[in-house]
């Protein structure tokens, strides 16, 4: 058995190496799918360029597909991700937008973990009884609510009712401090500006809550299922017989083991949360990558931006891959039966 810290490093490195072909595949697929409509490519990639560049591009488009892919791949690695129709460069914009989305997703994940998982425990504890039914209705409602409907209801009705803002990251357009991380709450904290921190948190609550509610089902359902598997096991009875109260039996003994299987759905959760940001960020005007994706894809009748769309698809896929990696590592850490070597 290898479970020492040095083994853990090997364990993580091994998985990082395994990621390389997947990431390469992601780039290939994205290239392939966004080049399905070959006639449009040049105008989309170089909308305001001079005739020389267009000509240059058309020369590229006429080249063999492998040569084209090679050029595209090199540009991608060099950070030369193209520009939108209006000439806004993709790379710097996305670099600033990623932290905002990360903040939103992490806040939603926080809500999912601290509300969704205990709900799953309750449902399993009262399996087949009223508590179980209520929890199931709750998470299935989230599941059945289309993201845009939930976001619109929250923004238009819930927000004003609770007095929560439904627009942007701060109440003012630009905060009076430097945004180091582009995460609204964190930046306000770094600046030591308490009113702005509270303001940032209040702006974060609604979109994060909507995102969490929509995706709650995955966490709650998985927790419920794995708790139902764990609860009849002998060690739960042993824990009870030690004299532990039901709370500790549930949360220290049963949930600890149920969580091992629950972490495996983290990747699915990440996919759902990220896909949710496209609509949630648009409705709440959150300056993240989801909102960028919405406009880049041509949502709401805006001019499509192929360069941006390609970048966004790749970024989202990479995020899911990373989430799966984290889930894999978490699984290895949580389950003592996994050998790290």
């Amino acid at each position: 058995m290898g479970r020492s810290p040095s083994d853990l490093i090997i364990f993580v490195l091994k998985r990082l190496v395994q990621l390389i072909p997947v990431l390469f595949g992601v780039i290939v697929l994205t290239f392939f799918f966004t080049h399905l409509d070959a006639g449009n490519i040049c105008n989309a990639w170089y909308p305001h360029a001079g005739a020389a560049t267009i000509k240059n591009c058309e020369a590229t488009a006429n080249q063999p597909i492998l040569t084209q892919f090679y050029q595209y791949f090199i540009n991608l690695l060099q950070g030369n991700w193209g520009a939108s129709v209006t000439g806004v460069l993709v790379y710097p914009y996305i670099a600033a937008a990623v932290p905002a989305t990360l903040e939103l997703v992490l806040a939603a994940l926080f809500i999912m973990i601290f509300i969704g998982i205990p709900l799953g425990v309750i449902a399993a504890q009262y399996s087949g009884r009223l508590g179980d039914h209520l929890v199931r209705i709750f998470y299935l409602s989230g599941w059945a609510t289309p993201t845009y409907l939930g976001a619109v209801i929250a923004a238009v009705f819930v927000g004003p009712y609770l007095g929560l803002p439904n627009h942007g990251e701060y109440s003012t357009l630009a905060p009076p401090f430097h945004q180091y991380t582009h995460m609204s709450v964190l930046d306000a904290l770094i600046a030591g500006n308490l009113p702005y921190t509270i303001d940032a948190i209040s702006h974060l609550i609604l979109p994060a809550a909507v995102l969490a509610f929509i995706n709650m089902g995955i966490a709650t359902r998985m927790t419920r299922a794995s708790m139902l598997e764990v609860l009849p096991l002998d060690y739960v009875r042993s824990a009870r017989m030690k004299g532990l109260t039901e709370f500790w039996v549930m949360y220290k003994h049963a949930l600890r083991n149920a969580l091992i299987t629950t972490t495996t759905v983290l990747g699915v959760t990440a996919g759902g949360l990220l896909a949710g940001t496209v609509v949630v960020e648009e409705v709440f005007d959150w300056p993240g990558i989801g909102q960028y994706a919405y406009t880049a894809i041509g949502g709401g009748g805006s001019t499509p931006n192929y360069a941006g769309a390609v970048a966004v698809v790749i970024i989202f896929a990479v995020a899911v891959v990373v989430a799966n990696l984290i889930a894999d590592i978490l699984y290895g850490v949580l389950d003592p039966r996994v050998d790290w070597r």
């Binding site: 072909p21 619109v152 896909a275 009748g301 989202f316 896929a317």
Partner: protein, 344 residues
């Protein structure tokens, strides 16, 4: 996961009876079952004889503008004078068909690939190379959030219902590959398959028979839940405005919602937004209730427990210890949750 011999017709009728009993014992899934039945029936009626349920055509000006819900216009009318109820109902067959169609196509394509990837896993053979390719491709596809990839593909292909359906379908199959392959691999290592192999029975023959039987349960559950997920994804693409145009000859819920919400008058005319939203919510909720309950029902452990608590005949005096399915964390390898504890 006990080895069950192929079922005789009498056994099948009995298991149908069990299914019915269990459904009754689980009120939420029963509700879901009822809702799904009603929704499917409604969709069928609208397809065959729309005038029975739909008073107006999709783009008929009723002459009353932006009125709230009334008996004449159940969900009110919009600024064009269109009857929203009619448009919502006319969208039902399309949205339902898209949900069932995409999930079904993904099930067939992904399931087939999953079977191949599960069957041919002996290293060094040509089959193993094919399996490996399928699994690598599946891994890559699973890295994309379906919505994002489908959006990009739709954008590349051009706006339209069929383009969107194709785009979603292209991203949807990998889930089924994982599901089916996992199940095949689990069954491959069950004791009775090993025993049959030792007895010289052709492995693929047993496998196919048992695989189909064992796959039925997880596939039905996943498929039922999936219909709802596809519907939400499709309507989200519709909402973003890349799938369908509204108003148009064929309404679609996501596009309707986008159109009405885009007007910015949600506070003044909330029914415009709520009607299509509610339609999606109820349809997806119906399938989710049914699918989520089916998991409990079709799971052999809970099924046993349900049957025991609802059946009137004598219980078995002994609760037999379930054999572990060898695969380590096989979900079927634990005792029933209502097991009354070792009876002596």
């Amino acid at each position: 996961m006990a080895a069950t011999p192929p079922r005789a017709p009498a056994q099948f009728r009995e298991s149908l009876g069990t299914f019915w009993r269990v459904l009754r014992a689980n009120p939420l899934s029963f509700l879901g079952f009822l809702m799904v039945a009603i929704i499917c029936l409604t969709a069928l009626i609208i397809l065959v004889a729309p005038h029975l349920l739909v008073p107006y055509g999709p783009q008929v000006n009723t002459g009353s503008y932006s009125r709230g819900p009334s008996w004449k216009h159940l969900f009110g009318t919009d600024g064009n004078g269109f009857d929203i109820y009619s448009n919502v109902m006319l969208a039902l067959p399309l949205d339902l068909g898209i949900g069932v169609g995409i999930a079904g196509a993904a099930l067939l394509a992904g399931g087939g690939l999953g079977l191949i990837a599960g069957f041919y896993d002996r290293p060094g053979t040509f089959g193993a190379a094919v399996s490996l390719t399928i699994m690598r491709l599946t891994d890559i596809f699973l890295s994309f959030p379906s919505l994002i990839l489908a959006l990009a593909i739709t954008r590349a292909l051009g706006i339209g219902v069929w383009e969107t359906v194709f785009a979603i379908g292209l991203t949807w199959w990998p889930f089924y590959v994982r599901l089916v392959r996992g199940e095949v691999l689990a069954i491959k290592h069950l004791p009775y398959v090993t025993a049959a192999r030792a007895a010289g029975v052709r492995e693929n023959r047993i496998l196919l028979r048992h695989v189909v039987r064992n796959l039925l349960e997880p596939i039905i559950v996943y498929f039922t839940l999936d219909i709802g997920t596809v519907l939400v994804t499709y309507s989200t693409i519709g909402f973003i405005g890349v799938a369908s145009k509204y108003p148009g000859p064929q309404p679609e819920w996501g596009a309707m919602l986008a159109y009405y919400q885009g007007g910015g008058l949600i506070n003044t005319y909330p029914w415009e937004v709520f009607a299509p939203g509610l339609a999606i919510f109820i349809t997806v909720l119906a399938f989710s209730l049914l699918g989520d309950g089916l998991r409990d029902i079709l799971d052999p452990r809970t099924r046993r427990a349900f049957v025991r608590s609802t059946a009137s005949h004598d219980p078995p005096p002994e609760t037999p210890a379930l054999p572990s399915a060898g695969g380590g964390a096989a979900p079927g390898a634990v005792a029933a949750p209502f097991d009354p504890g070792g009876l002596g």
